[in-house]
Amino acid sequence: MDNDDPQQFSVRTDTGAGGEPMTEVRYDRASALDAFTTMWRIRRFEEAVEDLYGRGLMHGTMHLSIGQEAVPTGACRALRPDDYITSTHRGHGHCIAKGADLERMMAELLAKETGYCRGRGGSMHIADTATGNLGANGIVAGGVPIATGAALSSRMRGTDQVTVCFHGDGALGEGAWHEGVILAAMWKLPVIFLCENNLYGMSMSSAKAFPLEQLSDRARGYGIPGVTVDGNDPEAVESVTTDAVARARAGEGPTFIVAQTYRWRGHSKSDKNLYRTRDEIEDWRQRDPIERFEHSILERGLVGRADLDQVRAGVRDELRGAVQRANAAPDASAADLLSGVYAR
């Protein structure tokens, strides 16, 4: 097999934990609408910030997850509001799926005092304690040991909270991933390491970097179950996450999930897409998680076209309002920069 073939990691749903029955999540109307709304909010939020950036109205850099929306949507639907997530530099989707407020996110990216981080963090550092989001992270795999610690904390405090650690395939090259996972495996902590395999760590092909039949095979080396799932299908992602959450809550320890997906945009704003082909990008655009899901739920008669139009109109209005109010908010102030370094 060609080592550079991005299809190398085929989708194989297998818990590797002895073949116990898998949950199969099949949405009803409410769930279908909810999942569609979340994916659409992520997509439109990112397209809006891309547009603002392109017009010179937004500062800094950003990492867009357009094309990957089904992963956070499916995974976070399997969680309770008090469960934790840790996120990545490509974290808008995780943030939104866990329930963050679009206006405060937009205000943060627009460098406003009303943003989640009061303009101190920007796109790569949004956390939302109210929804259990322990934060995006600018360091690849930085959130992995932190997720282990959050799970340790839940265990020690006697709660049954679960932590989902979102990370990319690039994180599999970091020592932090290894160290975070072994501690969690040793202590059988309630944490799920969820790899969004979008096939590239910046420009490095994960198929080339990790010569495994399945990326999830790596789990075996840590003594935990590994499972690969179609990351462009929210029901499939929710199914495997539900299983992993059940294992975690039952004290059976961590699970490694690899969700196969693809980022349509470049790594960041500096990416000229020299390491992948137009055909490949086009091929994955044909597997748009939102379009696919839309067809599926329409076909299954769960929703009608008018329902989806209503969702789209609602998200359009929500985003329009978020951008307008965020723009009108006061700019982040330098007045108390020094006093914000240490907590009192």
Binding site: R118, P145, T148, L152, R157, G180
Partner: protein, 346 residues
Amino acid sequence: MSDHGAATGTEVRVTGATETTVMTYAEAIRDALTTAMRRDERVFLMGEDVGRYGGAFGVTGDLVDRIGPDRVRDTTISELGIVGAGVGAAVTGMRPIVEIQFSDFTAQAMDQIANQAAKIHFMLGGAMQVPLVIRAPGGSGTGAAAQHSQSLEAWFAHVPGLKVLMPATADDAKGLLLSAIEDPNPVVVIEHKLLYKTPGQVRTGYATTPIGVASVRRRGADLTIVATGVEVSRSLEAAERLAADGIQATVVDPRTLKPLDSETIVREVISTGRVLLVQEAVKTLGFMSEVAAVIAESEAFVHLRAPVARLAGLDIPIPYAPQLERAAVPQVEDIVAAATRLVREW
């Protein structure tokens, strides 16, 4: 209980309990750990070999029997993972203490210390706090050579968001650790291996030493020595020898590198007009470079009768052979010589 309002005190202030007992620096740390864990169930310790083994330097000793293995938690040899797990536990309601076996190994954990723990509170606009304590022994003198003997306090003091403490006595080893555990910020406590077996009077019970308050260990009119870590006791010994030669030295122990009690240092420099800064760490860009700058920028500058003098470790990795290791960092006789020159020549 503790009195954190004592921010202007300069002598060791008794901040609650007044009874004292003699214990070693290591026993004082264990006493602080026991006291804190019995007082607050959110407090726990994790690190390599801190359980049944009792810690690489015997600091935790029988702590696992006193508190139990859940809260005196052995880890794999994974410094980055341990500190990261500490960060995760700290932001979700626990009060973790992590032990790094040698401060040199913090290099393995630096992302979690410098990029995560130190920055989370500021970077998130104050949305989260990281009440994490990192204990790590530093310093040379054990024949363990270059990768087990460094004095890295300046690395941590250079990162906004961290507090950095360097206890030089058994009482401060306990009192500063208790304050670190109470603090809502990440605090790096650099212990000194050579001090672990040094006994001292230690206040019993929940007796804290406030963060950000220097201690004037001795007073004399001819020069002011500012020293950290193991160089505090060396400076005090040097001061005794200097006194026999008719030179009276003040010795200031900042105790807390960050935040730094500049006020006490400046005042004590003004009172003698001469200052000798002593650190074990390598000289270039060391902590005493910062103290020198603080003095130069302050009103003490116009009271100086002599240039600011620094006595520091040579700019080399710590060597193995005992005579080489000894030559690499300031010893008592080096302090005596430097102080004598400063007073006699100026």
